[in-house]
């Protein structure tokens, strides 16, 4: 027997859920709205909601800051670079543990996960020293490596749970049909693994884009990404809400959109496959 739901109950659910949803989303909505106001309108009391003179000036001002493009590029480079590098190392590792498991596989997986638990603040000084010695301080390369390392356990785990779902019989069938290892990988495994790899890449991009300990502490003028750019607004001068909003909107928009597409993968990745 299917459960019957009255229209009244559905309406109440809908109203309640939308109210809460909008309340939670409100700070983001308010930031986006404020980014289109003038600085005076941004702080007006009572607040103006929708009926103000919409303007793009704040975006122009932020973009005209000579260094904005560099912060953006640093974010893209660091998030993208750490994702690509991470996948290059994680795909073979996850692959081998999923398809050629040994009695140690479980221990290795758990040990990898345990490295994720290391509190960053506990190792910041050694990393700082190593970075100085190797000339990596305030470089994009240095951050690519660090962010790759902190996310590597998560992406190996996530890939592992995806690869585990590929049935081994398919590989055997392909082999019986005379496919060589190369054909097996190109025509059988890769198409089946690609969605999982793409989801993993997406999650890693999101995590790396938003990382705000290492990016704040290991960069200065040269390699700072958007997290640090936004943090520079923490000591304000004069009216700056509208500009802060415009900068914030630009910093979060790409990842917000990517994130909405990856809700399911997020659960899998962040719970190490324990909740699917």
């Amino acid at each position: 027997m299917a459960r019957t739901v009255t229209t009244t109950r559905k309406s109440v659910n809908t109203a309640l859920a939308w109210a809460i949803g909008l309340l939670i989303f409100f700070p983001i909505l308010w930031t986006v709205l404020t980014s289109f106001k003038t600085e005076a309108q941004a702080v007006s009391d009572p607040p103006v909601w929708l009926f103000f003179d919409w303007t793009l000036d704040n975006y122009r001002t932020v973009l005209d800051r000579s260094d904005y493009a560099r912060f953006l590029w640093n974010s893209i480079f660091i998030a993208g670079g750490s994702t690509v590098l991470g996948l290059l190392i994680a795909v073979p590792a996850a692959w081998s543990m999923a398809f050629v498991p040994s009695h140690r596989t479980k221990d290795i997986l758990l040990w990898m996960l345990s490295t994720k638990m290391l509190p960053a603040v506990g190792v910041i000084y050694p990393i700082y020293l190593i970075f100085i010695k190797m000339g990596l301080l305030d470089t994009r390369t240095g951050l690519v490596v660090i962010l790759m390392l902190i996310n590597l356990p998560i992406i190996i785990w996530m890939l592992y749970t995806y690869f585990k779902e590929i049935p081994g019989e398919i590989l055997e069938a392909a082999r019986m049909d005379g496919a060589g290892l190369r054909n097996e990988i190109t025509y059988v495994l890769l198409p089946m693994a690609l969605p999982g790899i793409a989801s993993t890449a997406l999650l890693n991009l999101i995590l790396a884009w938003n990382e705000a300990f290492w990016t704040l502490n290991l960069t200065a003028a040269n390699a700072a990404p958007l997290t640090a750019f936004i943090a520079s607004y923490s000591s304000p001068e004069g009216l700056f809400y509208a500009k802060l909003s415009a900068a914030s909107t630009m910093a979060i928009a790409p990842i917000l959109i990517l994130g909405w597409f990856s809700q399911k993968q997020l659960v899998r990745g962040l719970t190490f496959g324990a909740v699917k």
């Binding site: 758990l110 345990s114 000084y125």
Partner: protein, 288 residues
């Protein structure tokens, strides 16, 4: 069937990841442990001799230590309670039939994707600012004095910001878990006359217990390490200095590396205790 050759190939494929993570774990960790036994002041000549457990003792006896532990526990505890309780409620609500479910879910999840520096600064300025913040407008509208959020109610403010960031995570995971609940079981209980409350306490909540445990453990690990939220709001002032922030100040601001490293070792031990429980659960799941 894995042949010897394929097993060797597999080992080769695994090696880079293992070596990198091993290095990432061992090298800095060894250095931190070594520093923690030294008097090490980079601004005043660096290494100044071995001091045994002196740093460990002075870290815990300094006047800042216990307040920072209390601050950490209050923030982590409050955020956990808020996010888990509201997360369960929201997950159950979002699981009900309604119009526009997908959109509501997107709205609820959005804060998780906002970078920490943005959420902290937006809350600090546009909501909690005592002159121009939306909360102060609201207070004045009701004829009340605006609250100096981040100085007079600093802890509730930080807890609010961090809860806002983590509620989506709890909701999303609990919702995923709820959706795997067998609806026939629910219906059977309903037909047997179980009311919504007994259904919640005897069916939904037990079903969610594992997901709740996972949410608590994962959030604890991340919450113990929150940094940017405090860095851009109070800088650790007004009683918001967490253990993480205290260590950060010792190491990078006052450049007392020996002392800070001893603090770091405490933080590592603390995180590992939590991690141990998490690994148990994840490990069990691996066997299924």
């Amino acid at each position: 069937m894995s042949t010897k050759a394929s097993r060797n190939a597999a080992r080769l494929m695994l090696a880079p990841a293992v070596i990198l993570l091993l290095g990432w774990m061992l090298v800095p960790l060894t250095m931190t442990v070594l520093f923690s036994f030294q008097r090490y002041l980079p601004m005043r000549g660096g290494f100044q001799g071995w001091v045994g457990f002196e740093n460990y003792a002075s870290f815990v006896t300094s006047s800042a230590f216990w307040p920072s532990v209390v601050t950490t526990l209050v923030i982590v505890g409050s955020v956990l309670v808020i996010t888990v309780v509201l997360g369960v409620v929201l997950a159950i609500l979002l699981d009900q039939p309604m119009w526009g479910q997908g959109i509501v879910r997107i709205l609820v999840i959005a804060p998780f994707f906002v970078m920490p520096t943005v959420s902290a600064l937006v809350w600090k300025n546009m909501f909690m600012d005592p002159v121009n913040g939306l909360f102060s407008h609201l207070s004045r509208f009701f004829g009340a004095e605006p609250v100096l959020w981040l100085s007079e109610a600093s802890m509730p403010s930080i807890i609010l910001i961090v809860s806002w960031q983590w509620l989506p995570f709890a909701t999303l995971i609990l919702l995923t878990a709820i959706q795997s609940l067998d609806s026939e079981q629910q219906e059977a209980a309903e037909m047997d006359g179980a009311g919504p409350f007994s259904r919640f306490f005897f069916i939904t909540l037990p079903h969610l217990s594992r997901a709740i445990t996972i949410v608590i453990l994962i959030q604890t690990i991340f919450l113990l390490a929150i940094f940017a939220e405090i860095f851009v709001t109070t800088q650790g002032a007004f009683g918001t200095r967490t253990l993480t922030y205290l260590i950060y100040q010792r190491v990078l601001e006052s450049q007392n590396v020996g002392l800070g490293s001893a603090g770091g070792v405490y933080a590592i031990i603390l995180a590992n205790i939590v991690a141990l429980f998490l690994m148990r659960i994840v490990g069990k799941n691996l066997d299924r």
